[in-house]
């Protein structure tokens, strides 16, 4: 994927973000987090620790949850990425977003985008998760505000809405 006309160590990579094809010039080891935020203006992806502990920078890469602060840009070449900006359809919130809003899953909001993407991946893998599945599935995403209880409520509520009984 590297461009032959690279200069000063930069190269050109392409990937899909939220359904749109993008081509950007990056340093190979630049963090995907910075590419998303600074190059593409997708500032919904947050930096909390820069070392893969807090999960605020979580995005979906080819359907899997990754900490974008740990992903070198080059590794994202050719991938299919989903960020928080890609969840709502126009003004229509996704089931998870609506449930987070209604159940108190978002307080200060800084962990919320990563937390919602982690929840999304969880529900993609398990349509009817138990409380333990949720506790375990979100354990890579730190929240300092909520004590997690209302986040669990939100994920369970979204699962219910996705699976009308």
């Amino acid at each position: 994927m590297t461009d032959s006309s690279e200069h000063q160590g930069q190269c050109e990579i392409s990937f899909t973000v939220n359904g749109e094809a993008k081509t950007v010039r990056v340093y190979a080891m630049e963090r995907l987090l910075d590419v998303l935020r600074l190059e593409l203006g997708l500032t919904g992806t947050k930096e909390g620790c820069g070392e893969g502990e807090c999960g605020s920078c979580s995005v979906l890469m080819n359907g899997g949850l990754v900490n974008s602060c740990l992903i070198p840009a080059l590794q994202a070449a050719g991938s299919n990425l989903t960020t928080i900006e890609g969840l709502a359809e126009g003004p229509q919130l996704s089931a998870l977003q609506a449930a987070f809003l209604e159940c108190g899953g978002a307080q200060c909001g800084i962990c919320t985008p990563g937390m919602i993407l982690a929840s999304r991946q969880l529900l993609d893998k398990k349509t009817d998760p138990t409380l333990d599945d949720i506790r375990e599935g979100l354990s890579g995403n730190l929240c300092r505000c909520t004590g997690y209880m209302q986040i669990f409520d939100a994920v369970a509520e979204a699962a219910r809405r996705r699976n009308p009984a």
Binding site: R37, L42, T43, G44, T45, K46, E47, G48, C49, G50, E51, E53, C54, S56, T83, I84, E85, L87, A88, L93, Q97, A98, F100, L101, E102, C103, G104, G105, A106, Q107, C108, G109, I110, C111, T112, P113, I116, I134, R135, E136, L138, S139, G140, N141, L142, C143, R144, C145, T146, G147, Y148, M149, Q150, I151, F152
Partner: protein
Amino acid sequence: MTEEQIIGQSVPRKEGRDKVTGAARYIDDMTMPGMLYGATVRSQISRGTIKNIAFDPQFDWSEFAIVTAKDIPGKNCVALIGDDQPCLADGRVNHPEEPILLLAHSDPHFLRMAVDAVSIEYDRLPAIFTLEESEERSQIIWGTDNTFKTFLIAKGDVDQIWEKADYIVEGEYTTGAQEQLYIENNGVIASFHDQHGITVWGSLQCPYYVHKALMTLCNLPAEKVRVVQVETGGAFGGKEDYPSMIAAHAALLAIKSGQPVKIVYDRMEDMTATTKRHPSRTRHRTAVTKDGKILGGEIDFTIDGGAYSTLSSVVLSRGTIHAGGSYDWPSVRIRGKAVATNAPPHGAFRGFGAPQSLFAMERHMDRIAQVVGISPVEIRRRNFLKPGDRTTTEQTIREEIDLGKLLDRALVVSDYHAKKARFSRENEVGTIKKGVGIAAFLHGAGFTGSGERYLASVVGVEGCADGGMRVLVSSTEFGQGTNTVLCQIAAEALGLPYEDVRIAPADTKRVPNSGPTVASRTAMVVGSLVRSACLGIKQTLMASGMLPKSHSPEQLRAACKAYLAAHGELRSFARYEAPEGVFWDDQKYRGEAYACFAWAIYVAEVAVDLTTYRASVEDFVALQEIGRVLHPILAKGQIAGGVAQGIGFALYEKVAWKNGRMQNGQMTNYIMPTSADLPPIRVFFEEMGNVHGAYGAKGIGELPIDGPAPAIVNAIGDALGTHFASIPLLPEDIFEAVAADREQ
């Protein structure tokens, strides 16, 4: 029971939609044309004088804006209470990570390398790091005696009680520093304009604190300093005073460079350089009858303030007043003291001194129960404050609180007695030992003593072009729900739908000073003022003849529009006035310490694995009386969040200090609870009448951090039969205490 339409409803969080879609803009999401990035060169030593500052000649330093203490236009201090903390060290450093020099550059990567290319030579001075070293005074590092502040609360005649006592119970309890660990680090952007002065946008709690600090630092009049809070990703007290420092740094770089400057800390800088909860030591000596009734006692409460006074006097005040807990002390002498060490200043963190002294009180109650030979339940029940009793500051309890009833309910919902019986059977075999523990406590709402009177907060409400209303306050949203609750109160008072009320950005150019967003005061104190200002709007419209006395929301909106068309603006302001007959003596520390208290009983169930010595909380019941619950989901969220932080304070979060510097300033090695670590946190409310707040609300934000640590440590004590007196209590600490117990 009540006729309110919007109060008591869990309406959607005002800024919630932007938060779940990623549209909310935090400081690091913002940029400005020509913006530079700023960084801070910090002290590598604990104490000493600066001999020389050298710049690596390999760098082209002409590309950088460089600021030292010499560049400060006004007074070199972070103006707050005392003005002892410099904004930039001038010749002398008193703690590791103290800011010395500032750099700005357009390339953040280059900037980071430049910070390392500045080398500072010091003459080191001996430093002190513990309460004991500070008290010994072998080195005087602050004032004449290393003491920032002392308080004495004296009630009754303590000297008479000892001979009447059947038991005298003594104990010493300590708590560690705790990092606030908001997930968004501190950050600001500053710009400077010759005519307009300084503007700062930032992640912060108290716009007018920053405003005051910048006026002093830059020697500018009020109208030439503007501070705007942007979406703030958690604060918990950690963005009460430190934003004044980082804003000052960005402002100095903006003045020097003539360009906007952004400073956003990375996690390690935020953890090692900014404030934490004060470490504490509490000593109890209590006279008790054979029936378990407290006759009186002495309490010595000491906190480590770090190198400068900052907020320590106020943290000490709250901790000292809360040191007697929710009990009736016929006689008591409480001495509070804040001392200096060569660590970065400790500051505000949810609870503000109370979690420290209440940890000691509630551990000590279990200790007393053990000595007297009655249960932890009974010892509390026999000593609870009742209506008509007087607190340690001789404040008469006027609320119709019944702590015995609250305790009974907590025992039922937690299934306390059945668990206690079952665990005592089951603990006889196996390596998993279980226990249950109680904490009973209170938290004073609003500023202490005369604080609210001095603040004299002002709140405004204004009519909007569409007929809706806008709340004007400097009270900030950082997750706890300020925007939502104040709009609920306004909508209720105006009789408008919630959607018709919005809140102005906390921008000092647009909103009056409604006081700092601290001390669990927003819903109660600011909320009351919002209500008054709304009633003022209605009165204005009715007096103008545009609004009939009895009216529909539609008529109110129409009247608002008509008034705006006729007069250009529709505004109403309300200023805090102290209630009649409230007495507080700042000298004797006696009187009405708080407008009211929130009350709580927390019950923790723990399991300790004697293979790993890891303690885990299995179930947690948080029952509280907080007056009227304005918004059930937000209120539950506040409690669960506070309990989770309290569990961290008790079992996980340990700052590893070395020569006054935090060694584990990363999320990798400073461990906060994850979703997998927490038990079900079961939240219950008991609503009782309260006359002080808007629609009967009391403060809520800080209460839930006070109870978890003592409840959990009491439960661990119950499980293992070992006395624990310090937190955090990590597996190695439990192991050592149990091993020491076995040796005896």
